[in-house]
Each structure stands twice: as C-alpha cells, then as structure tokens.
Amino acid sequence: MGKTMERRKFLKTGALVGAGAAGAYGLPLLTSLRASAGNALAPSAKCRWGMVIDLTKCPPNCTACVDACKRENNVGSTGDRLRDIYRIRKVTIESTLAVGVAPKAVPLLCNHCDEPPCALVCPIKATYKREDGIVIVDPHRCMGCRYCVIACPYNARHFNFRENDQRPNPAYPKRQRGVAESCDLCAHLLDQGKQPACVAACEGIQAKALCVGNLNDPASEISALIRNHSVKRLREDLGTEPKVFYIGL
C-alpha cells in the first residue's frame, strides 16, 4: 500500500515536471508566432527604403563610400582589425567553384532586413525597424549586450569597444563606447531629404554604383533598377528578407 502511494506521488511529481518543461518550450513558440504576425504588416508603409549596389560599376580599389561613411558618422579607426567598426566595408570575393573566375569587390553593409534577427533578439528594443524599413540602433538605450551582433547572419553589426574621440562631423553625435553599431542608411540625412553619405560619395566620383530609394514607389529609380536587372540579395534562404539588392553578384 505504502509503495503504491509513493509511486503515485512520484508519477504526479513527474507529470508536473514535464508540464514545466512543456511550458518552457511553449513560451518561445508563442512569442515567435506573434513575431511573424507582426512583421507581415511592414511592407504596407508608404516609404520603404532599400538599396541597390551595382557591382559592375564599383571600381575594385575604390573605398570612397567607406571613407565617406566613417567621416559622416564619426566612426573612427584605430587599426585594431578585430574591433574596428565598419558600417560599410568592402571585401574581395573569389570563386571556390570554378577556376578563372574574376574576383569581385563587394560593398557589405546592414541589409535592413524586413525580418531582422538583430531586432528580434534585442532584449530592450534598442534595435528596431523604423516604419520606413530602416533598422536602427538607439545608442542612448542600447545596453551593450551584443546579442544583436551575434544574431546578425551578415556580420553587419559591430560593437564600440572603445570610446571614440574622433569627430570629423560636428553635426553628428560622437560614437560612445559600449553600444552596438551598424549602418542606418544615414537616416538623419534621409530624413532631411538628402542622400546617404556613401551614395553621395559614389556619385561624387562618377561611379554611381549605389542607389538608395523607396521600394514601395514604382516610379523610383531603385524600383526601375530592380525591375530591369537580375538582382540578388545575400542569403535569401535565411528568410531575413534583406532590402539591399546586388546587380552583378
């Protein structure tokens, strides 16, 4: 008799523990359901910024966009390869599938994903997607947990490891240590009706490889570029819905 009572008690406890485990999995499941439901509404916004990068027009050794970005956004350099910040960087890629394919120079930046994993994981919503599709970090709220840096599948996020005293652009705040950093499409310039610094610099050297515009406006230059070219986005298979389109990749 005593034995069966014990067993019953044991089973009851076991069942409760099981229920606890189920709860632990239920929570993330429910919240992720909410995630996809919320984001499905995003493209209806009137303005949805995106970028087209035409690699056929991008000269291999040019870093005009990178330099202009650093100047505009007060992102300094210290020569520390592991910790220097590049909101936009230029890499060279070589084919691993076939020999004799010419290497390509590719500017890489935040893709302003429509389903941004960085914003999904930010514990305090310091990273968020604006109404117009720009993914942005609020440097005054970010607590520097670096979870977004980890979640971004494009290595587009960096972290301000150091206090940065370089401030070539007095109109823009100094970059402070301890917060995440990534391209925000120069939202401060777009909001004033100006071009992002990289796009302006690229136009300045007559290359015109970069184009930023409203993806929701069929009459915009960017919409025409996407219509008339075969464009690629990075790792479309991840479901992050990037809004940076490459021509000639």
Partner: protein, 404 residues
C-alpha cells in the same frame, strides 16, 4: 534520531585566511571590471566577431551548477527522501549563490552597466530570450530564497510546495538559457536540442559539484557522514552523465549528417584547440572516464573514486559550456555560398578568441564572491547538520569520513 542543524564555528585561522584570500580576489575582480567599463571592453579578448567570451561561458556554467544543486535539495523537498534532508539546506543555498554569480557575470558583461537597471524594465522585448531570461533568473533567486527560508523554519508543507516550484522554475530557467543559443540562426547554435542538452549537462555538473561540496564540508568540519546517500547521488550522477552524453552525441551526429551544417561540424570536431576540449575535455574526461568509474563495481562504491568522477564531470561541463559559446561564434556565417572572402578590413572567416587577464580576473572575482558568501553563510545560518546518518540505521554503521 532528530537532525540538528548547526552553524560552523568559523573562528579558526584557516577560515579567516581563506576569507581574506577570497576577499582579495573579489577586489581584483571588481577592479578589472571597473577598468573594462571605464576604458572599454577592448580590454577583454572579445571582438566584433566573437562578442561573447569568458563571462558568458562562466554564467551558463553557474546556471547549470545551480540546477544540479537544486535537484539534490529536491530529493528531500519534492520526493520526501529523508536521507537527503541533511544536504537540502546547503544545496538550496548553493543553488541561490550560483544563480547570483550567474546574474552578476551577465550584468558585468554588458557594455553599459549603467543602463541594465532601467532599460530591461522599461522596454521589455518578449521575443528576446535575453529579455526573458534575466526575469527568470531573478525570480528563480527569489524562489530559492523563499524555499530556503521555509525549509529552515521547518514548515514541511510550504517546503514541499516551494521545492516543487523551484524545480519547475529551474527547468524553465535552463531551457531558457539553452534557447539563448539554440534559437539564434548560426550554424553551430541553431538547434532545438540545445535547451534539453543544456538542462542535462546542468543537472550532471551540479550534482557532481554537490557531491564535492558535501564531502568537503563534512570532512572539514569533522561531522560524521553516512556514505550510502553520497554513493546513491553518485549513481544518479552516472545516469545524468549518460543522458547528457547521449544528447551531445545526437546533436553532433545530426550536424555531421546534414549537408548544410557539415562544414561547421567539421570545424567543431577537428578545427582547432576547441576540438581538444571536445574530445579530451567533454568526452574523455567529462563523460567516458567518470562513467567507467561510477559504473565500476568497486570504484563506484568508493567515496574517493566517486569524488574523482565528480571533479571530472564538473571539468567536462565547463569545457562543454565553452564549446557552446565560442566555436559557434568563431565559425563564420557563409555570406557568399560558392565564394570565399579573400580581402576585408575586418576579420572574416574563422575568428579567433583569446581571453584576456581582465576577463579571467573578473571571472575569479565572481567565483570568490560566491565562495565568500558560502563560507559566511555557513557561519551565520544553520545550513549544515551536526551529522548525516540514515534515520533508520544504527549509528555504529555510519562511516565517519569526517574523522580521519
């Protein structure tokens, strides 16, 4: 025979010396933490590619240990096994301290410590594992504290209720911690098996640590200890190590089998110094050898060997924690399938991480703080029984391993 819980005297010279040593380490930890935040986290070994380092490794290690401690306490609290009652208070206290240590490691790892107090409360993101977890952790600390208080007050009914809540909460906490990694789209992170395997490793390491703590405490205080319950915990440990090992095996076999993760898995298994931690640390020292010992008829019945196995399991799980965090970050996402990046101003490809002295000092500081709180807890609270013997047994049959 009624169990009597007594404080330790804590007036001996070694006690004070140990306390001073630990306090010194705490001071060093505080100083290096302050430096890292005053000057910037570049003083740590972390980089933009490996932005989480030793503090997170240690945090999830403590979180795991905490769960295991709670399991030992629940043997009495939830399952009513009287022979484990002597360890229940210490175990709960340990669970509490380890969780505080974990929370401390995470908090001091933030880039802006000044913001962690306000922002998580004002801008809660229910979709972020890192947002949910601190709440789980702090509530877990409160539950453990309440559980300890009612247990020490001798309230049987509430001890049962709170013990059960604490165990359920612990599972939630650990699944949540596993999910911080398992739910992120990186080749070596993204896995639904990570939360359960995190729980399994947690339980085995914590159980092992409790064995060591129990043995050390009773020996150092010269209080008699019946070895049967400890040996039984050893057998429990063997089962937990088996389960944890099984999950690790399944996870890695799957990654090796699936095309999309094969290259990443190859890096994990054979890609560098961390692979040594996997084969030598986690598999050999952390799983195979302790299993051989614990299942061996004679070694498994010897306190000394069970203690050796326990040390090995704890070390193995520490390796496992490192293996959860670092290789997953070091392995790069494949930005251009079919292409490789040959030039870049930042580190592309496989990233490297070498922990810095500041990080190590910070980690030691947290360990020392927990040690200090543990020692002084023993001195101020009635956590340890004067003796731990089977209630039904003749005192003569108890083996007083405390008195050499």
């Amino acid at each position: 025979m009624e169990l009597k819980f007594e404080r330790i005297a804590g007036r001996s010279k070694p006690f004070y010396l140990l306390s001073c040593g630990l306090a010194g380490l705490v001071a060093a930890g505080v100083y290096s933490t302050w430096l890292m935040h005053d000057q910037g986290l570049h003083l740590s070994g972390m980089s933009s590619r490996i932005p989480w380092g030793l503090p997170i490794v240690m945090a999830i290690f403590y979180i795991g240990l905490s769960a295991g401690s709670l399991v030992i306490s629940s043997l009495y609290g939830v399952f009513g096994k009287l022979e484990y009652k002597p360890f229940a208070r210490v175990a709960t206290y340990m669970a509490l301290l380890l969780m505080i240590g974990a929370l401390l490691s995470i908090l001091t790892d933030q880039g802006r410590i000044d913001r962690v107090v306000v922002e998580p409360f004002s801008h809660f993101n229910f979709l972020s594992m890192l947002s949910i977890n601190p709440f789980l952790y702090s509530s877990y600390i409160l539950i453990c504290a309440a559980y300890l208080i009612v247990m020490m007050a001798g309230n049987e009914k509430w001890t049962k209720i709170l013990a059960l809540i604490a165990v359920l909460w612990a599972i939630l906490v650990h699944s949540g911690t596993g999910a911080i990694f398992g739910f992120v789209p990186r080749a070596l992170y993204n896995s639904p098996l990570l939360p359960p395997s995190f729980v399994a490793a947690a339980l085995s390491s914590g159980t092992a640590l409790m064995i060591l703590v129990i043995l050390a405490l009773f020996r150092l205080t010269g209080r008699p200890l019946d070895k049967a319950p400890v040996l039984w915990i050893g057998r429990l440990l063997a089962v937990l190590v088996l389960i944890a090992g099984y999950l690790v095996l399944v996870e890695n076999a799957h990654r090796l089998y699936a095309h999309e993760s094969r290259a990443a898995e190859r890096f994990f298994l054979l890609g560098g110094a961390h692979s040594l931690l996997f084969w030598g640390g986690l598999l050999l020292v952390g799983s195979v050898l302790p299993l051989l010992i614990l299942f061996h008829r004679r070694a498994g019945a010897s306190i000394r060997w069970v203690a050796v196995a326990a040390v090995m399991v704890v070390a193995g799980v520490l390796c496992e924690r490192y293996l959860i965090v670092i290789p997953g970050l070091a392995y790069p996402p494949d930005l251009f399938p079919g292409w490789t990046i040959t030039q870049s101003p930042i580190e592309e490809g496989i990233a490297s991480y070498a922990m810095s002295l500041y990080e190590v000092l910070q980690a030691l500081g947290v360990v020392a703080l927990m040690g200090l709180l543990f020692l002084w807890g023993l001195r101020t609270l009635r956590l340890l029984p004067t003796e731990a013997r089977r209630p039904t047994e003749f005192p003569a049959r108890a083996v007083a391993i405390g008195c050499p």
